[in-house]
Symmetry: C2
DNA sequence: CTTGGAATGTCAACAAGGCTGACGTAGTTT
DNA sequence: AAACTACGTCAGCCTTGTTGACATTCCAAG
């Protein structure tokens, strides 16, 4: 009960260092495919993030998105403006509160989202398949515990039927 | 044998989507603590990466680092220059090949590395402890499979006694 | 031994996408 | 009517990625 042997085993500084590096390299792999697709269109990761979360929560407001993405409105606005101009995102004045803008993807926006998502899911699926179900469960558990509490709230929001 | 039930279970597009988001949020948590320390000194993540890999492989060359970090030499050079100027990194002309510069951390550099690493390991350790050993093993397995083959080579290099 | 090419690293200039600060405008709340 | 909120925008800064041009050094072919 007070035997720390296996606890110590996986909490070595060196083991943790390796996990940190793995996270770094894995994240690069994780973004590599979308990055290529986006670059071909002159977009960057910022556009991807906006598209992703608008797809996930159609009709979401600008303010809402700011909370999820954790950037300033000026920064988000730059991205949103180009997406609206290019006809990928639709910005509609709110009906209940007309100060708000509700964001949705246009058909073109959905198409790009699908393209990005398909590529990213394919890599994820391949990694999951090679690693096996048990590893996948562990993977997700650790990821959840690595988030900031606030980020985790946003994450959990989806699981329980979106806000 | 041809029962896909559990395979399908964890390969749903929706499940994959959630994993993608988890990766996004977790990476932000992962970098949050170092980012704060770096910002206080006027550095960014690029500096952290350089410091980390120089610490890992003391005496490494610029070219070597380029392969690991996957950026252009000009980009890396800017970061290295400030680190050398600030006395955190030592750049020494190679003895065998004088075109090369061998990079090591100065005592000040090691101190910052320790500070960054300690903060990042603390979060990692906490997440690992809450998730448990089995989850940790799965986590690392999936991460390895998510890397690009080339990135994975660099990663594996350390495990087998560095290059 | 020289000379041309490859490797290595530096300087300059540009772009994306973060940031802060200030401000305008509409709509809502008190 | 006054205060607050949501959103957009202008201006300017920083980090960190990019490409292009260039200097130095090494090596190998002639």
């Amino acid at each position: 009960m007070d035997d720390h042997s296996d606890t110590l085993l996986f909490l070595t500084d060196e083991q943790l260092r390796r996990a940190i590096e793995a996270m770094f390299f894995a994240y690069r792999g994780f973004t590599a495919d979308p990055d290529r697709i986006l670059a071909a269109r002159g977009y960057g990761r910022a556009h991807h993030r906006a598209i992703h979360f608008i797809h996930r929560s159609p009709g979401t407001t600008v303010n809402n998105l700011l909370g999820i993405l954790g950037v300033t409105k000026q920064s988000l606005n730059r991205v949103l403006r180009t997406l609206v101009e290019d006809g990928l995102v639709d910005s509609r004045v709110g009906t209940r509160d007309r100060r708000e803008r509700h964001l949705t993807l246009t058909p073109d926006g959905e198409a790009l989202e699908a393209e990005l998502s398909t590529a990213q899911r394919a890599r994820m699926r391949a990694a999951f398949r090679e690693a096996g179900p048990a590893a996948v469960a562990g993977f997700r558990t650790v990821l959840e515990h690595m988030m900031d509490p606030e980020q985790r709230r946003h994450f959990a929001a989806v699981r329980d039927g979106e806000r």
